[in-house]
Symmetry: C2
Subunit: 412 residues, 2 copies
Amino acid sequence: MGGVLAGMRVVEGSAFVAVPLAGMTLAQMGADVIRFDRPQGGLDAHRWPVTREGASLFWAGMNKGKRSLAVDMSRPEGQEIVTALICAPGPDAGMFLTNLRARGWMDYPALKAQREDLIMVSLTGTRRGEPAVDYTVNPSLGFPMATGAEGSTEPVAHVLPAWDCIAGGMVVNALLAAERHRLRTGRGQLAELSLKDVAAAMMANLGIVGEVLANGVDRPKAGNALYGAYGQDFLLACGTRVMVVGLTDRQWRGLVKVLDMQEAMAGLSQRLGLDLRAEGNRWAARKEITAAFAPWFAARTLAEVAPLFDAAGLTWSVFRSFAGAVREDSDLTTDNPMMAMVHQPGIGTLPVPGSPVSFSDLERMGPVAAPVLGQHTEEILGDLLGLGSGQIGRLMDAGVVAQGIRPAVRAA
Amino acid sequence: MGGVLAGMRVVEGSAFVAVPLAGMTLAQMGADVIRFDRPQGGLDAHRWPVTREGASLFWAGMNKGKRSLAVDMSRPEGQEIVTALICAPGPDAGMFLTNLRARGWMDYPALKAQREDLIMVSLTGTRRGEPAVDYTVNPSLGFPMATGAEGSTEPVAHVLPAWDCIAGGMVVNALLAAERHRLRTGRGQLAELSLKDVAAAMMANLGIVGEVLANGVDRPKAGNALYGAYGQDFLLACGTRVMVVGLTDRQWRGLVKVLDMQEAMAGLSQRLGLDLRAEGNRWAARKEITAAFAPWFAARTLAEVAPLFDAAGLTWSVFRSFAGAVREDSDLTTDNPMMAMVHQPGIGTLPVPGSPVSFSDLERMGPVAAPVLGQHTEEILGDLLGLGSGQIGRLMDAGVVAQGIRPAVRAA
């Protein structure tokens, strides 16, 4: 039943994407992850998308399988509770993830004074501690100006909070690496990273900084073409759009063969003086290649091309809308062992993913619903902090903590 | 000197983004990561971006700080060398990351027979083992149809290989989690994930699957607007475009105050009957808000607005091209402690990032150049596999392995 991280306990003080995702990633591998929020909910309590009734599908998505403590951190008693929870004893505890602004009582030195070997991972917007979100990091580094139709000068931001998702993975990396270090040395530490640095590093890792400096050029917008090799979208006779990829030599040869374009490509190669076996030459000749391929696609329907492409093992896909994907893609349904139908209080019953990773030594953990805000307040105060029911009752009456009540389930 | 993962040894058989990025993430935290490739280079040896001379800036970016073994895996002796390396003894070894198609000799059962507690992380395209890349996963799940100008029906793919980058982080998560499990139980295992599942899970985690099912609607394209709250791009008088964000209440109030739009927003709120303190109402009123704000921006230059925005602590950014970011953004220069000037053989000297994470118990590791293909073949065969120089010489003569020679550094 336990996951690969069974026994590990992590406390999370967070909002929005990266740190909540990090905590959930750990929870979905079996860690006991406790997220604390103020009783009225964190900054992301109502983050879109929401249901028509205003329940946050985002919050439910990003906090699955965690326990929730509702506590007023503006009160000294609330700060003491959170500190005690973060610094609780035990070799598998004493780990804290946060992207909240570290105030005096919640910064690393203050917490370390309570538990010397604490591991804390802190994500900020920029390395200087300024606020930043995906929507600002992305334009500042140039991605929207390289996205969209060739020839356009309008910036196009991507809708996926990609930097946040990447940073969330980094937060998990840092925590697990620091815990490994603590197991060997007994020493805890503060691991710090920023959303902007994660993005800046990735931009350089992908060769984009080098491309500017070594070649002295800006990458132009190139629509949906696969950069630096061949890959293009085509409209079929049935109106469906497909993406086909000729990145590797095998993919390229497979594509040309299925389209029966060997002679056409040989002629094109000769005419342009470009050996199309070299991926960069396919990029240079992409418009001519696309012009040669387009009539083939325009004359066929998806029902005709799909079996041909699949039989040949091509790398390709259809373009769908989100709703089309939910309707048609079995990877988003319970056909996929990653997914299960889960009742999410206040929202309904939906196909919900667990961890994308399956571990052969362990049963795959099914997805677990997100908690209601404060759902586990009593059990956390009682079982983990050893408070008696009288103490807990007084804290509740005083509004220092709150117990959440699960709303009724409605049909989706 | 050593990083947080000092002592750990990981073998990587990979190409392209996700698994190379995973290996590099480990190397940049101090692990000894050995990537093996065939002597002519892997499928990504020439991946774009490239220099004018054809050196892959991508490969150099994704393999920093690793050791490189060049070995012909089509030969039985080559397979024996790779197997011995993956299954080498030691509590901190016996870890293998791959996205290569598992052939008989390199699949988990065959390797496990050589080392019972092997940890192997295997990334495939889809959960069925089909090929998939970011360029195909993304259209299949609907992101390009939700990206781009409002009203447009053209799909716009993002240019960042976001799913690959997210999957790379997951590969690291899985490895570190499995190693933690092995330390406690003595048991190794196979961790499996697919690029498509990583993307499908994230789509659901972000609430997008729930949005389709609960609300029965497809999210429309909304240009560069921040979904579900307020955030918009504006053109300044100087021609610079900026993004401003009013996601949280604090951000929204700060923005309205700096623009001196309190009365205008109160009037708009009344006229529309929408309390703009609720983030969803800001989304509903975004066009009216943008219309009210636009003249303010159109009348001012960046030199005027930047100090105002920074003084107020707003969440905002300018839009740059890649070249503009490299030129103007100090986070991409050695002003940033994450970055250092590094000589990359065959490319030149460039600002190069190390890990975005700094660990307080350890000195920050500086970035290390990527190896030349096969640069460490001799030392790996000698030091790790205990082969004598005669044996190594014979393997080289037979073409089973190859030693790389670092090319001269040219000026960038």
